[in-house]
Amino acid sequence: MSTAVALEPVIGIEIHVQLATRTKMFCRCRLSFGDPPNTHTCPVCLAHPGVLPVVNGEAIRLGIVAALALGCEIAPRSVFHRKNYFYPDLPKAYQISQYDEPLGVNGHFSVLKPEGEFEVGITRVHLEEDAAKLLHLSSGGRRAGAEQSVVDFNRGGTPLAEIVTEPDLRSAADASEFLKQLRQTMRQLGVSDCNMEEGSMRADANVSVRPVGSTELGTKTELKNMNSFRFLERGIEAEIARQTGMLEAGERVVQETLHFDPATGELHSLRSKEEAHDYRYFPEPDLVPVVPGREWVEQIRTSLGELPVDRRRRWMNELGISYEDAEVLSETTELGAYFEDVASQVDAKSAANWIRGELRSQLKDTGDTPWESKATPERLAELIQLVTDGAIGSSAGQEVLAEVLVSGRPPAEIVDEKGLRQIQDTDALGAIVDQILADNPKETGQLKGGKQKLIGFFVGQVMKETKGSADPRKVQELIRERTG
């Protein structure tokens, strides 16, 4: 291949999110992370003879929530299959999963970027159960040089939603941003806590490279299980670079599964037995098809409310706040609601600044969240209004906020009590300015003669005279009027 041809990466992502149910997918064992091994098991999730799976209704509901949030059509009938493979972490020797009749199909998800937004097609959302956890131990309890393998069945049977995208992503950064916003959506809708370190969100990426303008897909490789956004981004970048290098050198990319080692930045081929595995899928005869009623689905759709991406877009378009403000303030549903409440009472940009700036930094010490603090949206709005109106200065505002966070009292009350109110009366302030100008005839003359830096001197004198209760901007204005 000629090096003159520009190449573009084509990326699709497969995400597994652990559904935030109380119990497992097909039995009533409690879900837990970090409990002692094998304390949440029963005959069903240990695959004892004669047991049967029963679908967790809450998992179906959360799956529908996820699928609807991703703009999918909910299948009027979806079917569980058995995916057969024999491995110690899978006690039935088959995983119950959805195959050719998944819960949701044909979706799309908008991803916001500072320069605009792009859309990622969602191929499917389906439900399945997780495998148990294998631990490889040596006599010293270390993984290296494992002498024995043990199984913790606590995780076995955990409900998962698998989300598969179309190959619509064109850069590692986009892939990472997509995943972040997907995570935000899933978290805010209560679908999953999406904790990558704990494994409640896992992502695999399919990566290929092709000449720009081509509509055909190149040979893809699959990058497995990257457990942070940074690793995902770095892994994809490394793979794009590797494939690009190969194509430019006239080599052919081989379809394989790769593992990214964040320590070395290298990609290793996983020559597992899993590859080219025949899973012998067939419909799970122990379960009946999932047939969610139309009304139920519509009820769930209504309950979703405004999705995080829509909220962010609206804030930017209608409230005029920046991409970054919107990104930070939409981090959680609670913070978003808090911001909206404040922004409905005062200027939205000021609200964003105060929440992201002073409020956040003052709360750092206590560890409180804004919505749990004594600075209720009303109190904060009152405070912002006082500053905006010039009734108090911004440093006085900081002082008042600190007091509000302690006592929750109305800011106006605190301002009066502490005598922080700025002199707003133009006549009264004008008289003081006149007096100061008269007391300093030499400097007044120089200022009138154009020595602008003396303005600072006069403002200082006025502030001194008023014991800091004048609005410095106003003072400056009055001095200019008289000397300009």
Binding site: G50, K92, A93, D278
Partner: protein
């Protein structure tokens, strides 16, 4: 003591003539003396304790402490449950199957677990990895299978009734060969929770008894939805114990394909005689064709092994059951499964794995499912014309031990008359309708889904008219 039916036993206990303790003691005595090899395990201590409790209770439960035997494919807490396989030797389950819990709550007393073909795969109980079961009518013949132990124990009057499981005929065929009543309910009527799976889309628990009334009584206590089995059905109309005498206006269709080649003449003539009896009772007899049923065996031997291949993959010796000594993991798996499963089980696992393999799925499993749909349609069309269908249960009477073990195909043909009903999920009952060369012949009646009550009524009327009162030779 004369061996009472379940109904007679309940009456005798209720009237104070006898007690649960006495009947359970008698059943245990007869079951310990077990020349037929019907039982794999007896649970005397618990059965005696349970009987005492029931006798002492202020209120007598509906089944009054009548003893019952359970096919070893049903999970019984703390009581060894092997499904006839070495791979579950010594396995004591952590829980009891829903249907047994229901029976125990209704006052039945489990005396023991009966022999069966390994994992219910077989038609003679010769595939049990533990022992042979002999037919009480002729100790040189098989009792049928796979619920051979449950059929033989009832025929031998050890217990009045038992539970079996039927996947392609495993209740009806042994009932037929042992001269007792055996009933496979509509798929979903009885919870499968605790039934060790062979072919999940076909397996169904049902009663074996000496009378139709006992069968209905037993079924009435185990039907109904179970939150632990998603395929179990809400059974809104109770199963009634029948007392019908006449069949006026009942339309019975004789399945023409099932009186053709391969049906023994003795079986055919007994079936024809029973048909004539039905007509005398007022039934309208017509002939009905189920053209697709010819492909039943072929479809069944793809679908059932396919499901079995997945169901049996869990037996790896790791979490329960027998475990072979080995130096490494692979050897452990290979030896545990290699030694734990018998030849017929291995044959079906391989067949099923092959039928599901990518590249073969369409040609085998998917096509078999389409045949299944055609068979369902055939039955549907038949039931537009008639109320129920009549056929032999088994093409032959009990065959000699060893006669078919080396010929799987001949063995598979034992279920030619019972498999189509299983594929269609329909209720069917086998009642004894005569004797051919000293061996009982079974008559099969099949109804549409949920027609259990109608089926029992017709079966009861015929049973009364046929008055099958022959006693197995080994007992007389």
């Amino acid at each position: 003591m004369e061996a009472l039916t379940a109904e007679q036993s309940i009456a005798a206990i209720t009237s104070g003539q006898t007690s649960s303790e006495e009947l359970v003691e008698e059943a245990l005595r007869r079951s310990e003396d077990d020349p037929w090899g019907a039982f794999l395990a007896l649970d005397g201590e618990r059965a005696r304790r349970r009987a005492k409790e029931i006798d002492a209770a202020a209120e007598r439960p509906p089944l009054a402490g009548v003893p019952i035997a359970i096919k070893d494919v049903l999970s019984t807490r703390d009581l060894e449950t092997t499904a006839g396989s070495q791979i579950l030797k010594g396995f004591r389950p952590l829980y009891t199957a829903t249907c047994i819990k229901r029976l125990e709550r209704a006052g039945a007393v489990v005396v023991g677990k009966t022999n069966m073909d390994e994992f219910a795969m077989g038609s003679s109980t010769e595939n049990s990895s533990y022992q042979l079961t002999l037919n009480p009518w002729d100790m040189e013949t098989v009792p049928g299978g796979s619920s051979g132990g449950s059929a033989a124990t009832v025929a031998a009057r050890q217990v009045p009734w038992s539970l079996g499981s039927d996947t392609g005929g495993s209740i009806r065929q042994p009932a037929s060969l042992c001269g007792v009543v055996g009933m496979k309910p509509t798929y979903g009527a009885v919870s499968r929770y605790g039934l060790i799976a062979f072919a999940s889309s076909l397996d169904q628990v049902g009663p074996l008894a000496r009378t139709v009334r006992d069968s209905a009584l037993l079924l009435s206590h185990i039907v109904g939805q179970d939150p632990r089995d998603s395929t179990s059905l809400d059974w809104w109309k109770p199963i009634e114990v029948p007392d019908t005498e006449r069949l006026d206006g009942v339309k019975i269709g004789v399945i023409s394909e099932m009186l053709e080649n391969g049906i023994e003449s003795g079986v055919k003539s007994a079936t024809e005689a029973a048909t004539a009896t039905a007509a005398e009772l007022g039934a309208e007899i017509t002939e009905v064709s189920l053209p697709s049923s010819r492909h039943g065996i072929a479809a069944y031997y793809l679908i059932a092994p396919a499901e079995a291949s997945a169901n049996l993959a869990r037996f790896d010796g790791m979490r329960y059951g027998a475990r072979a000594a080995a130096d490494d993991l692979l050897e452990h798996y290979e030896r545990t499964r290699g030694e734990g499963f018998g030849p017929e089980v291995k044959r079906r696992i391989m067949l099923g794995t092959f039928a599901l393999a990518s590249g073969y799925y369409e040609a085998y499993y998917a096509r078999a499912q389409r045949v299944r749909t055609l068979i369902v349609r055939d039955f549907g069309e038949a039931f537009e014309k008639v109320d129920l269908l009549l056929s032999p249960t088994s093409p032959t009477t009990a065959f000699k031990i060893g006669e078919r073990v080396d010929d799987p195909y001949a063995m598979y043909m034992s279920d030619i008359c019972t498999i189509p009903m299983s594929l269609a999920g329909l209720p069917a009952i086998s009642i004894p309708c005569g004797v051919a060369d000293g061996l009982p012949v079974g008559l099969q009646l099949t109804g549409p889904a949920f027609s259990e009550n109608g089926l029992f009524s017709v079966a009861h009327a015929l049973e009364q008219a046929i008055d099958f009162d022959a006693l197995p030779e080994t007992l007389s």
